[in-house]
């Protein structure tokens, strides 16, 4: 039986921790869930190569999301090029279109929460990415690196998004 390397175990442990956050983030690009799942595999295979080559271990969470972001962008571009069927539809918007949500799901998402999600859908794409990355636990510095924007832009984006969400609560 082949011996597993410690790096394989480490990557699988990171996969356990970050698979769901990475897929949730990639769904913000409007990718089908199956594509997001496949891309997540590619992200962690890239991570394996990264670690095997002895490259930096500093902030692996940020590294994972940066690769996920770039992969999702490329995949979306490719889907748009090769299919006129692909329509950008962030997955949060599918909630309202779900023809038959189960009773538990109906209870789980209140009207107020639906309103919050609809406010998010109306945000510019970059603001949605900022918000999604923050929701997955990334700090401002990490978000700025993933999206390749300034720290000030991240702060301004989150302030704008949260202000809109709070206004939705007050209306």
């Amino acid at each position: 039986m082949p011996i597993r390397s410690p790096i394989e175990d480490e990557v699988v442990a990171l996969f356990e921790e970050f698979r769901a956050p990475v897929i949730r983030y990639m769904l913000a690009f409007g990718l089908p869930i199956a594509d997001a799942e496949e891309l997540a595999q590619e992200v962690f295979l890239s991570l394996f190569e990264h670690l095997r080559r002895g490259k930096s271990r500093a902030n692996l969470q940020g590294w994972i999301f940066r690769v996920a972001h770039n992969s999702a962008l490329k995949c979306r571009l490719q889907l748009r090029r090769h299919s006129d069927r692909f329509v950008y539809e962030p997955v949060l918007s599918m909630a309202a279109a779900d023809p038959a949500p189960g009773p538990e799901e109906t209870l789980a998402i209140s009207q107020w929460q639906q309103r919050l999600l609809s406010v998010v859908r109306a945000l510019p794409e970059q603001d949605q990415f900022c918000l999604a990355l923050r929701a997955e636990g990334l700090r401002y510095r990490e978000i700025s690196e993933v999206l390749d924007i300034s720290l000030g832009s991240v702060a301004a984006s989150l302030e704008k998004s949260l202000s809109r969400l709070m206004r939705a609560e007050q209306t």
Binding site: P2, R4, S5, I7, E8, V11, V12, F15, E16, R19, A20, R24, L27, P32, I33, A34, D35, E37, E38, A40, Q41, F44, L45, F48, E49, R52, R53, C75, Q78, L79, H82, S83, R85, F86, V91, L92, A95, E105, A108, I109, S110, Q113, Q114, L116, L117, V120, L131, A132, R134, A135, R139, Y140, A155, L158, E159, L162, S163, L165, M166, E169
Partner: protein, 260 residues
């Protein structure tokens, strides 16, 4: 005249909630919050909004996530493959450096097409029979020319057995228990004689006891081989058709009803 109290800005409150203030500024903000009921209430609204948003987002997205066991097993298998390869040359790269760049580009484009069309396919043929799962088996080809495809007699090429450890990896990726394994044949999605690889990305468990089974797929593979070698069909189209929807391809090239 009494000075109007200066309240914290919304930006400052959000930065404080996110722990993004400097130590010195944070101390001042905390001192202000202790003294100012109004700003404390505003801070509470921010925290509540964040909590509600996160709850709504997770409720909406988490229900769409498939269970982790299958993807985890697949990743394990792919990591084993990658570990066995030379560091720096991942398992999906091609073995011929001179041709690698062009072939890789063609491969990426091909996989992209497969991803798109297979997504559509998954929602349309599920009632007709078994199908490979896109996330596990998108189909993968090695660089091969038509001349190479047609140089060998088909039977010589396809007689390669799939190693048992690879079969186990495929079963694990698809969540098939050992007790059920004898009900399935681990089959190539794109047959090797059309350039399919022996990677787990090109292997899937096909049930024996269904109408559209491995024997039927063999007929299709034979037909595609004949068409390619007869210059009636280009190799890339044959690869794509069998990867995207092999049952549809059978109907297209051999007729509506499967022949065993």
């Amino acid at each position: 005249m009494q000075r109007e109290p200066v309240h914290l800005s919304e930006k400052e409150l959000i930065l404080a909630a996110d722990g993004e203030l400097s130590v010195r500024r944070r101390a001042k903000v905390n001192a202000h919050l202790e003294a100012c009921w109004s700003c404390r209430e505003r801070m509470r609204v921010i925290e509540t909004t964040i909590a509600e948003f996160v709850r709504a987002r997770n409720a909406e997205l988490n229900r769409q996530l498939p269970p982790a066991a299958g993807p985890r097993a697949l990743l394990r298998a792919r990591l084993s493959e990658a570990a066995a390869a030379t560091p720096g040359s991942s398992f999906w790269q091609f073995p011929f450096p001179a041709a690698r760049v062009g072939q890789l580009a063609a491969g990426v484009a091909f996989v992209g097409i497969v991803l798109v069309v297979l997504t559509v396919f998954q929602s349309t043929v599920s009632a007709e029979g078994p199908k490979p799962r896109l996330g596990i088996t998108p189909g993968e080809t090695r660089p091969i020319t038509v001349e190479e495809v047609c140089f060998y007699q088909r039977a010589e090429v396809v007689s390669r057995d799939i190693p048992n450890d690879m079969r186990q990896k495929v079963f694990a990726a698809y969540g098939i228990k050992p007790a059920q394994a004898d009900q399935f044949e681990v089959d190539y999605l794109i047959t090797p004689d059309l350039g399919g690889t022996e990677s787990i990305r090109n292997l899937w468990p096909q049930p024996y006891s269904v109408r559209w089974n491995a024997h039927v797929k063999d007929k299709l593979e034979q037909r595609l081989h004949e068409l390619v070698c007869g210059h009636q069909l280009d190799l890339q189209t044959a690869q794509r058709d069998i990867a995207v929807d092999w049952i549809g391809a059978y109907k297209k090239y051999l007729g509506e009803n499967p022949s065993h």
